[in-house]
Subunit: 342 residues, 4 copies
């Protein structure tokens, strides 16, 4: 008996990627697809790569359209999920791919998003300590941000093992799809091809408190985060370079052991063999995470680097993975660790 899934916000990049995955998920039947400005259009014009759905027509995002599904995925602008979720009832699994329910601290939410806090839902990063338990049987899931996914997976083992000082310095490069499909001048191909540029510098990016929340939980105490995102000339992918001062006594062997332990049973996180480093191309279109870690003795720092596909593991794949857990399905169902390269 198939799980019937609706997608609110099916015309954007997150929605498109989710549909790409759901199309091959053996237990999911794709139900209503909704949009706002694009309601009434065929999906073939909006997501031309999703050939099997080419003739599906987008409905407006209304409670009626979303009713009657087992799972409803929300790929909406932030601030809109709470109102939609309320109307869906407590027995429907609601998976919010937006930011609304990620943060536990209302003050953090308000400072970074400038609107009242809607609440906190179980957080969809199963690889974190206690992450799976929080999702099992849940009817609400807050899908993590793309940067916090990459950064938390790269650094939490060092914090959980007590190897890193509580000040993380992170620089990440993201493909342009992370900035969405709404046309803005600085996102034009002419502007981004051949260029690297930072944005949200100085602690202002909205994913910062989410990283602090995750790393602090792993460390068992407050971790400060200096986070600088940069826009890279590629459509997909995040490469997160995450560093922290090594605590006294840390060695490369201790580090390696901590990371091996953290990811030993993880189906999607791949700690690379020594000497090899992550590349976003290797996880293009896959739910895999490549991680590697080094100890810079001279500088006294740990450097942990991860590569993910921002749309897959960083958004839609993470959403499906968490859905699988919440529904009691095998966690890997409908997800792949095979990248599309070159």
């Amino acid at each position: 008996m198939a799980v019937r899934a609706a997608v609110a916000g099916a015309s954007g990049y997150a929605g498109g990627e989710l549909l790409r995955l759901l199309l091959t998920h053996p237990e999911v039947e794709i139900g209503a697809l909704t949009g706002n400005s694009n309601a009434g259009q065929r999906l073939g014009a909006l997501q031309p790569h999703l050939l099997p759905l080419a003739d599906r027509v987008l409905e407006p995002t209304t409670p009626e359209a979303l009713a009657g599904h087992d799972v409803v995925f929300l790929a909406l602008p932030h601030g809109q999920s709470a109102a939609v979720a309320e109307r869906l009832g407590p027995d429907v699994l609601v998976v919010d791919m937006g930011a609304d329910f990620r943060l536990k601290d209302a003050a953090d939410w308000e400072r970074f998003y400038g609107s009242p806090h809607a609440g906190t839902w179980p957080y969809g990063l199963p690889e974190l300590p206690g992450g799976r338990a929080a999702l099992e049987g849940s009817k609400r899931i807050a899908v993590p941000g793309c940067y916090p996914t990459a950064v938390s997976l790269a650094l939490f083992p060092a914090y959980a093992a007590g190897l890193a000082e509580a000040e993380a310095v992170i620089v990440a490069a993201s493909g342009t799809s992370g900035a969405g499909k709404a046309p803005k001048p600085h996102l034009l191909g002419s502007e981004v091809m051949g260029s690297m540029s930072p944005y949200g510098v100085g602690g202002t990016h909205r994913h910062t408190p989410e990283m602090i929340q995750n790393l602090s939980a792993a460390a068992g105490g407050p971790v400060s985060v200096s986070f600088t995102p940069t826009l890279a000339p590629m459509p997909r992918g995040i490469l997160a370079t995450c560093t922290a001062k090594a605590r006294d006594g840390v060695t490369a062997d201790l580090l390696r052991a901590a990371y091996e332990k953290a990811f030993a049973d993880e189906p999607f996180v791949h700690l690379l063999p020594e000497g090899r480093w992550p590349a976003t191309a290797s996880v293009h279109g896959s739910n895999a995470v490549q991680v590697q870690v080094a100890h810079d003795e001279a500088a006294g720092r740990i450097i942990a680097i991860s590569a993910i596909d921002n749309l897959t593991k960083g958004t839609a794949g993470g959403a499906v993975q968490s859905m699988n857990i919440a529904l009691g399905l095998p966690e890997e169902l409908g997800l792949s660790t095979i990248g599309v390269a070159p």
Copy 2:
């Protein structure tokens, strides 16, 4: 009972793409993986995107390594397939992803490849008239070239319907993976990013006689082909712009009807709705072909345009599709019409 498949030439782009597809093929079990200069290395170092095969070790390409399989895929430099195939016996399905057995005319072969003609095998483009019948039950398959795949699918309906004059003019743009993984200065990222350039101009590209063979068969008489390939700054994809003079009496409606008829039952070829045009991104990583056709009344020409992924439908996907037919499996098994975009 799984089909056991070996891949000779598993370290290159064609081999890597084939493995990507075979990994999710429900009837295939991946057997021996062989290489030459890379024998002895782990696949994780050579194809880091194929996580489930990371620990597999490449063997040298020998008859012993390839023995005991139901299917052997050859992704070898041209001229080497015949010797390997001979040793495999007549009951093994041999799928040659190289050029050796594509051409029927030995003189053509010798003029373009400069070596003795090895023979002709059933041609793996099932969408051509009579294409499927030639493959059913066959134990030998010559996988078409990437450009001939894109070009033949774009133009054969016009020739089969008698709508086009016998002189085709074709300009195609290919991603760089079509040029292979052997490092050459002009294929460096620094050289190709931001640049378009032609090569093999003036009828010298080796895929030209293969196009002529296919289009002439469709037309029922000799078709001349002017073919200009260009290198585009992208890793994958072919966009083929194919034109021919329209015969007297041709109209847009007649053209549309011919194309609709040609592709009505094709699982992988998608004739786009009027007003939309192919884009290589839409078929990235998929076995789908996007086709559109127009009639330029003022110039008196038919313009048919196709987009494929050169590594998928243009090489490894085409190989799997033909294998499925030869083995009596459902043609679409293990293949997708869903692109990875953006």
Copy 3:
């Protein structure tokens, strides 16, 4: 005594490239810079690469702002140039970088642009037969379209020498800056990177009648043109693959001789040595044109290929070159044949 130049439309790509060139032109002093929606903004925010002009403020495009200059460059949406030009008086050199005054045939204009024909100005492609004479001393210049520049330079020698039949088939790839700076979904970096796609197929692109006009003049009789433009994943550059049936008796030597003669004294057009082919990267940021020609004997066709920078020789560089001629300055002043590569 410097030539004082104003630029109407200084915030777009054409205006920005023009300013880049004028900044190093030894005889030009940059006067008023105007815009519409961006009036009041500093150029540093709009054209951050033009450091010496960072503090200049855009004025609204009014007759007052443009008054008092020796040259006024118009980089305006089509249909707006005539009204501005009228107010400038007959003694000011007006260089229109838009389409308004390129076509001689009013019916062509109306069919392709859907508005009344504004007139015809001397055409700014000095390399065409008689091209320089038309510009000397002129007070009005219509800068050619980017595609017609690339195509006309590639093919006119074959037509002028009577070597080509009167039906040209042209496929060109352009960088995205040719589509301008106004943000549209299909021009987002996420959409264009990794993708090739056609547009304006079937004789509908507005540059088609301009090509016909130029090639017919060279041939001394009507030439039909089948033109297919494609969008390439790069910011700049046009690669034009232009073919025509060879007339009886044409040989590679005759072709080569015709092209050598056509470009013997041209400072910007470089007929490549035999065996080498144009690449857009080689002319990035330069006013140079790379041309090569081949004779495909088997197909009976001439293949002439050119590479230009669409913003330099294809727009702003062509404008400066024509301005130099009109003002009696050395034609090469302020222009370079040195590309920025890799």
Copy 4:
């Protein structure tokens, strides 16, 4: 009376960029061009973008070929410069674009380069404190590495003003031309397009001791550096994200003032207005450096970011700038602050 300049290593990216700049330098006459494996070839085949030099033939790199010039630029593999320089005599200005003479500490050199230390020459980064004085009248110049140029300019003002703690954490993204023109599999366009990946992680990159040298000099005491370079899918450009813990009492105003003071009279370094951030596209092909700095109060860190063109200011432009100073020419001669964008 022109300065006669020879270039040893004219076929690589650094040599090509140098020639691009020297071609428009009003005081330089280009003399001998030498190479090793490419000796005997025309420059048109090796550097097709340098049209005015297309017919120049590369000579072998011998003392005879390099004799009789006022300036000799060395773009050679590291370890080869000393032997060539010795033969040139003390009156010839020798500008080494390689690493051989950059480091003051012989032990550092030997640890990172694995060969005996050749010595230390005046360091070609005039913007550093005392930088110009060291170059005036000098007959030997060590051109800085591309990363150290970007990083030192971004961070030295914070150290010189005593605002930053002595542990810098730096992540930089470079275009592929920084890796040179020798073909290697991981530098193929197919591999780099669409991918970000790190290399030289953990303090192993050879530019690390050079950064330490520069920042320690500015700080007046030892500064440790954690440096992670990443390869970005673009041909040119470096974006360096440089952070350090802020000392007690640091404010955004203090920071801004320190950077304004440091760059007030610098012709090539542009401290961006508040709210704008560097982009590599803005300095493409130019000798300009874009810098911006922020104070992340929550994390207690300074974030300084710079963008340069790795081939221009990062290599060949820096070389020309230092040559100008050494020869007593105006520092900006032959150099531009105008980028080629988009």
